[in-house]
């Protein structure tokens, strides 16, 4: 990675994309606040609008956290690296927290988020904040690039042959080309189909997911079935337990 004193074209393009991404929800916040102040919003809709403001601010923070994590890892800062003594991360709890965040924006497009097996308390050791960031990035993509009126399914299961804990995030949408499956995890890369759907994006989300998972010896891979338009993001945790 380049020195911060010599930013290259990639750094600057990332920064420009990041600015675009973070200004959009903040613009929404300012606009909604202005509507609240000038009486555009009816009294009975104020609570709903405040909830929308909160969601847009949380989304902005998520983007800033992505940039912060990217910057720290680029500079080799290991202050947040997950040690063996890291906390227990209860996966269903973190998934539900992330899913709640995207529920409203998903429903506006008829997209449901469904977690299979909420009962089994699969857990891994690491940083709950960083793992939540992984699930938020994955669900952000899944909701943003899903077909309208479809379901995003999160499926936890144990692979018998390896005894690995697998967590799949599945959605239906335009997906990506076969040769893009690995490129998706490179800094700044966005699939052709993603660019056709939404012009701007940071291309940081999946890169960060992989980096965070690597720190706890977990991994992530992408798969797309053109036949049934199904995107699968598969997380693999060799070390896991049930609470």
């Amino acid at each position: 990675m380049n020195s911060p004193h010599h930013p290259d074209a990639l750094d600057l393009r990332l920064l420009a994309n990041f600015i675009h991404q973070v200004v959009n929800p903040l613009n929404g916040v300012i606009g909604t606040v202005d509507n609240l102040l000038d009486g555009t919003v009816a009294l009975d809709k104020r609570h709903q609008r405040l909830a929308a403001i909160r969601a847009q601010l949380e989304w902005s923070v998520m983007l800033v956290r992505n940039l912060a994590y990217f910057t720290e890892s680029s500079l080799g800062v290991e202050s947040r690296k997950q040690s063996p003594a890291a906390k227990i991360c209860v996966i269903p709890q973190l998934v539900i927290e992330a899913a709640l965040f995207f529920q409203e924006s998903g429903l506006s497009e008829g997209i449901n988020i469904h977690l299979e097996d909420r009962e089994t308390q699969y857990a891994v050791r690491g940083s709950p904040d960083l793992l939540r960031q992984v699930f938020m990035n994955l669900l952000d993509n899944a909701v943003k690039y899903s077909d309208a009126d479809s379901t995003v399914t999160i499926r936890p299961w144990i692979q018998k042959s390896t005894n690995h804990f697998i967590l799949e995030v599945r959605n239906y949408g335009p997906g990506f080309r076969f040769d893009e499956a690995e490129l998706l995890f490179k800094v700044g890369y966005r699939s052709e189909q993603a660019i056709k759907r939404v012009a701007s994006g940071t291309g940081l989300g999946l890169f960060i997911c992989r980096r965070i998972l690597m720190e706890i010896d977990a991994s992530i891979e992408a798969e797309y079935s053109r036949q049934n338009r199904e995107v699968i993001m598969r997380l693999r945790f060799p070390n896991w337990e049930v609470m």
Binding site: A16, I19, N24, G28, G31, D34, K196, R197, V198, S200
Partner: protein, 149 residues
């Protein structure tokens, strides 16, 4: 040639991230108007081939599927929303009826919006956006033409 039907009560909003524009839709609806959303340059141009709108509001960073819709070697390649403004103007929308907006303040866009004769606004300033819309909506070109007749 059949004239394009005019939707005097509808604004075409071309933006690929409409979930960030709930505030704008709410404001427009509060003024008694409707909003039609287009998520790509292609959709916006298709909509304008079927109807003429009270106003056309376009984000400059919007996907384009059919690359022949943007003028080659022009600012439209970087800012496809300019192609929407261009078509809107050539299909009879008056200058003040066409608004383009972007996160970035770019002299190239400023020059292009001047050439097209449309309004260029920056994101992050919703009050200015609303004032501009109120100004646009205060003027109905069809009614003005009828008065002159």
């Amino acid at each position: 040639m059949t004239p394009i039907p005019r939707l005097a009560d509808t604004i075409l909003l071309a933006d690929d991230e409409p979930y960030n524009l709930g505030w704008l839709v709410e404001f427009i609806v509060s003024k008694g108007l409707k909003v039609v959303n287009a998520r790509t340059v292609d959709e916006a141009i298709d909509s304008m081939s079927k109807h003429k709108y009270r106003a056309v509001v376009a984000d400059l960073s919007i996907p384009v599927h059919d690359l022949s819709l943007v003028a080659p070697a022009s600012p439209q390649e970087r800012y496809p929303g300019l192609a929407i403004a261009d078509i809107a103007r050539t299909r009879g929308h008056l200058d003040r009826q066409v608004i383009i907006y972007s996160v970035h303040d770019d002299d190239i866009v400023r020059a292009e919006s001047k050439r097209l004769g449309c309004t260029y606004l920056l994101k992050g300033r919703p009050r200015q956006f609303k004032e501009e819309l109120v100004s646009v909506l205060s003027f109905d070109p069809l009614n003005q033409q009828q008065k002159q007749l």
